[in-house]
């Protein structure tokens, strides 16, 4: 039996790189297969929010919040995880943008991804509309992340957010003016609305009776504290002096609440 001597140096180097090449294939394929399998095990964890929560902040901003819990049982991490949400108002375009900070969900853990969107009710052009009208607001969601450092995913989803107006079906209904024995003119006004929001209405409703000449004949303020989901109905009576003819005038109603000052659409006086 004849034994071959040690291979020459160049041959050994060549052989080493050939083997490393094979090893590289094995490692990359194995890690990739493991990553694919682990990715299939990712699930929404119990406690994941089913919808958005609403909160009226003192600065007149409505905060929409949601929390997504993600169970990542595999050994690989989600990195650069970002969620961006854009809320639109039908016919008026962009209403609000929100999102999450760049976050990481480590392997073998459950990550919590909080999403927060702020709707500036006080400054938005459609803020007054949202005060009085329920709406289905289109929400576009984008999620970007990298898994195992190997693959990145971009997921977009479109959904609707049901907005409940805090002063839904708001009406300031003037009644027929009635002359009084003392020479004044009584103008009854009925204020009604329903709070469809998930937060209560707290603040002051101010009603002004303005003549056709633009002169404010009478003003009344009405403190309100309406719980979420409740209906509101209250009558007011204005007594106008002889110098103020409400005929052809307007009823101007405004709301002042925490961080919000809004005027409701004017109502014509009979």
């Amino acid at each position: 039996m004849r034994m071959n001597p040690r291979p020459p140096g160049l041959y050994r180097w060549s052989r080493l790189f050939r083997r490393l090449s094979t090893l590289a294939v094995v490692v990359v394929v194995t890690v990739s297969a493991l990553a694919v399998y682990s990715a299939t095990q990712v699930r929404p964890a119990p406690g994941a929010a089913g919808g958005l929560t609403q909160l009226l902040l003192p600065n007149g901003t409505v905060e929409l919040g949601a929390t997504f819990n993600l169970s990542n049982p595999g050994p690989f991490a989600f990195t650069h995880l970002r969620l961006v949400a854009v809320v639109s108002f039908p016919g008026a375009g962009l209403l609000a943008v929100g999102g999450t900070p760049d976050s990481t969900i480590a392997g073998a853990s459950t990550g919590v991804v909080p999403l927060t969107i702020f709707i500036p009710m006080a400054t938005s052009p459609v803020g007054a509309t949202l005060l009085t009208h329920d709406a289905a607001l289109p929400v576009d969601l984008w999620l970007n992340t990298t898994y195992a450092g190997l693959a990145s995913a971009a997921i977009r989803a479109a959904t609707n957010f049901t907005w409940g107006a805090p002063f839904a079906q708001f009406n300031a209904t003037p009644g027929p003016p009635a002359p009084q024995p003392n020479g004044t003119l009584q103008v009854p006004v009925e204020i009604t609305f329903s709070d469809h929001a998930v937060f209560g209405d707290v603040g002051t409703i101010t009603v002004r009776v303005v003549s056709s000449a633009g002169v404010t004949c009478a003003t009344s303020s009405l403190p309100i504290a309406t719980p979420a989901g409740a209906a509101f109905a209250q009558g007011l009576s204005f007594y106008l002096g002889a110098g103020c003819d409400p005929s052809g005038g307007q009823l101007l109603v405004s709301y002042d609440g925490p961080g919000i000052s809004a005027a409701f659409p004017p109502e014509a006086l009979p």
Partner: protein, 180 residues
């Protein structure tokens, strides 16, 4: 066998497969005959063609029937995979010859280029409707995979150098005769 190298001290090669018998203390090579090389290269081609051309082609062809946008077409993968399979087979066929190094370099460079090209187009967009869309990008996997042909390239360059400096030196180790 044109272009086939003869290891140092070779003599007595009268039958196929040729057996090179070296003086005492020198390694001995048993080079495969032409028929065996063709058969083995063909087998390598068939396996490579299935693995890197036909299976990806069929997978992409089936996916293209779904609402999925791929970065490459099935026929591009089939064509590139077939070229790579041919180069792989050619590399295997040329192993006992001086052409092995250059052919292996060509195959490795082609492999690197193919994987980097795939990496640049490694995007899958799924649009199941209902306002949902998913885009997956997996170029990093293919870039890492390109490390393998890069290492093969280094190996091929070293082999080319070895063949230039010491023709036939590697043959007894690539094709050991075993016991004589």
């Amino acid at each position: 066998m044109s272009g086939q190298m003869v290891p140092p001290g070779a003599r007595g090669e009268t039958t196929a497969p040729p057996l090179f018998v070296a003086p005492a203390g020198r390694p001995v090579a048993r080079l495969p005959g032409l028929g065996r090389r063709v058969a083995m290269a063909s087998a390598v081609f068939v396996v490579a063609e299935i693995g890197i051309a036909l299976v990806p082609f069929e997978a992409l062809r089936r996916l293209s029937g779904l609402p999925i946008a791929l970065g490459v077409t099935p026929f591009e993968v089939l064509a590139a995979g077939t070229v790579l399979a041919l180069l792989t087979a050619a590399r295997h066929f040329s192993k006992p010859s001086r052409a092995y190094g250059p052919v292996a370099i060509t195959a490795a460079v082609a492999g690197i280029a193919y994987l980097l090209w795939l990496a640049a187009h490694a995007t899958i967009a799924v649009d199941p409707g209902h306002g949902v869309g998913v885009t997956l990008t997996y170029g990093t996997v293919l870039e890492l995979m390109a490390v393998a042909p890069a290492l093969s390239l280094v190996s091929a360059v070293v082999t080319t150098l070895e063949d230039l400096r010491h023709p036939g030196e590697r043959l007894p180790f690539d094709y050991p005769a075993g016991g004589v």
